[in-house]
């Protein structure tokens, strides 16, 4: 069975070859390389992974990700970023995907009316052209939408049902002002006790081309690994999407210190302990291989 880590990040130290933006958790001299990742994967029996761009959204900022895809074409696929103010995103999308192993783009903002009672005109949604081009070119859209955008997604999915969509991190939509970095250098998202996603992104299961990442637990949970306070969220996702539409991921490198890469390779066993083996294999990699079209390993 193929094991695929379907969402994580790698980056190099800042250099002329690999320029990127810096932040307090990703200073210029920090690196979390593909080789370090491959070491963790090898040690834990993980075959392939989806590299998701961080460190900037310009073409140049993607240099390290593209380098990794070129160096390890049978191990990685990639997801890029699009500058949010790009009025004509098509060329940017095509450049990054042209024979590179990059298959789609991550969006954290959808861009439309804040009020769900406003009339929603799909063509006026800011990312409409991104969705349209993704539909035309079969690009995957990787969504970690803001809470304020959650009501716009059904309109776009209804308009472009052929677009493959992956909802990141349990389908959760972070609220304004609820993001921070914890003491271990991990993203932290303060979430409501009753998860609003139950009534927004979880309802998107009616669209056949929507998958959900089973990942990011550390950022939402108020308990230590294996995050037992989130077992209900996992069971709801399984109930609504089914085992064929969930994909496991670690969100490397944020989890290296706590709980550790190896621990996260067991998270599905811990939070969905009653899965039949076939469904477990689906979530741990077979779904990602099929839906994201990972190549066979050489």
């Amino acid at each position: 069975m193929t094991r695929i880590d379907s969402h994580l990040h790698v980056f190099a130290k800042v250099s002329p070859e690999f320029p990127r933006e810096t932040t307090s958790v990703c200073p210029a001299d920090r690196e979390e390389t593909a080789e370090k990742l491959l070491g963790e994967m090898e040690a834990n029996g993980i075959d392939q992974a989806m590299l998701v761009q961080i460190g900037g959204d310009s073409i140049e900022h993607h240099a390290y990700l593209l380098h990794c895809l070129k160096t390890y074409p049978d191990r990685f696929l990639g997801i890029g970023l699009i500058p949010p103010d790009l009025s004509e995103p098509e060329a940017h999308m095509d450049t990054l995907t042209d024979g590179t192993g990059m298959i789609g783009f991550r969006l954290s903002s959808v861009g439309g009316p804040r009020d769900p009672f406003d009339q929603i005109k799909v063509k006026e949604i800011k990312t409409y052209r991104v969705w349209k081009h993704a539909a035309e070119r079969d690009y995957v859209l990787w969504l970690y939408p803001r809470a304020v955008d959650a009501h716009l997604l059904p309109y776009l999915m209804e308009t472009f049902p052929q677009v493959r969509v992956v909802l990141n991190h349990l389908g959760l939509c972070p609220g304004k002002g609820k993001f921070s970095w914890d003491a271990k250098g991990r993203p932290r998202i303060e979430t409501a006790e009753y998860n609003p996603a139950f009534h927004t992104t979880h309802r998107l299961a009616c669209f056949e081309n929507v998958m959900v990442h089973v990942s990011g637990q550390y950022a939402f949970s108020n308990e230590a690994y294996p995050y037992p306070d989130l077992d209900r969220w996992h069971q709801r996702l399984l109930d609504h999407y089914g085992a064929k539409r969930l994909m496991w991921a670690t969100d490397f490198p944020w989890i290296l210190e706590d709980p550790g890469y190896g621990q996260l390779t067991n998270i599905i066993d811990r939070l969905l302990p009653d899965l039949p083996k076939g469904e477990y294999d689906d979530i741990m990699g077979e779904n990602a291989k099929r839906f994201l079209r990972f190549p066979d390993r050489l």
Binding site: A147, A197, R203, H240
Partner: protein, 238 residues
């Protein structure tokens, strides 16, 4: 108190629902609509802020603490149009769990899918949904699977396309219509691709068991509960 007819009782037992057309008379309905719209408008900015903060879903909107906002919401709890049926079906041991004064924005995907509210191990659980505006067919109307409230019914699955649920019945209706249903049964709001939001009240009741009686739950409206019967209904006395 208007008790259900034999035909209504038979339908309740067999199908799990009753529909009370014109349950809210015209003059009362007009006042309800005015009060509903007033408070919905007034409370909306705070809800939008909560949506943006990730604390509330964007797919429906409840007026918070409606009993503290207007007495009409209290008077709907034991409204004569359906109160006698509620009492009859709970052997006169009825308590209120709470009201939801809810607006659902239109959109391609409704905020909820097919589900029962409680398992059969729970005391009998009944909801009354009252339409505040006209709810046309295929405009977010309530829907129910008749007979699905029975212990041996089903199995049912969470049909991802709501219209794919076998045997379901939709309940479009005029403003003032009340739909009472046994919430062991599978139900949902349907998708609403129109431009019209659905406005309704969802009143949640249960058959009284001692452990569900919480005198603090509605203590803020004790002054409106001047009869023993109402005080029992609102859990203000044993």
């Amino acid at each position: 108190m208007i008790r259900p007819t034999a035909a209504q009782t038979a339908q309740w037992e067999e199908k799990g629902y009753l529909v009370f057309e014109n349950a809210i008379p015209a003059d009362e309905l007009k006042r309800l609509q005015t009060v509903f719209d007033h408070w919905a408008e007034k409370c909306k900015p705070a809800w939008l802020d909560r949506v943006e903060a990730g604390e509330a879903a964007a797919s429906f909107y409840d007026i918070p603490d409606p009993f503290d906002k207007d007495e009409i919401f209290v008077d709907l709890i034991d409204h004569p149009s359906y109160y006698g049926s509620l009492m009859a079906f709970t052997d006169d041991e009825l308590i209120l769990l709470g009201p939801q004064v809810r607006t659902v924005p239109p959109g391609p995907v409704c905020y909820t899918g097919w589900h029962p509210d409680v398992p059969h191990s729970n005391p009998l659980h009944i909801k009354v949904q009252i339409y505040v505006n006209d709810v046309d067919p295929k405009a977010g109307e309530f829907a129910y699977v008749p007979g699905s409230h029975k212990p041996n019914a089903g199995p049912y699955s969470k049909a991802q396309r709501l219209e794919a649920m076998p045997g379901h019945k939709r309940f479009p209706g005029k403003a003032g219509t009340a739909i009472m249903f046994n919430s062991y049964g599978w139900h949902t709001a349907m998708d609403n691709p129109t431009d019209t939001p659905r406005k309704s009240l969802i009143l949640i009741y249960e058959k009284r068991v001692p452990e569900r009686v919480d005198p603090k739950r509605f203590a803020s409206i004790a002054h409106l509960c001047t009869t023993s019967e109402r005080r029992k209904l609102f859990s203000l006395e044993e």
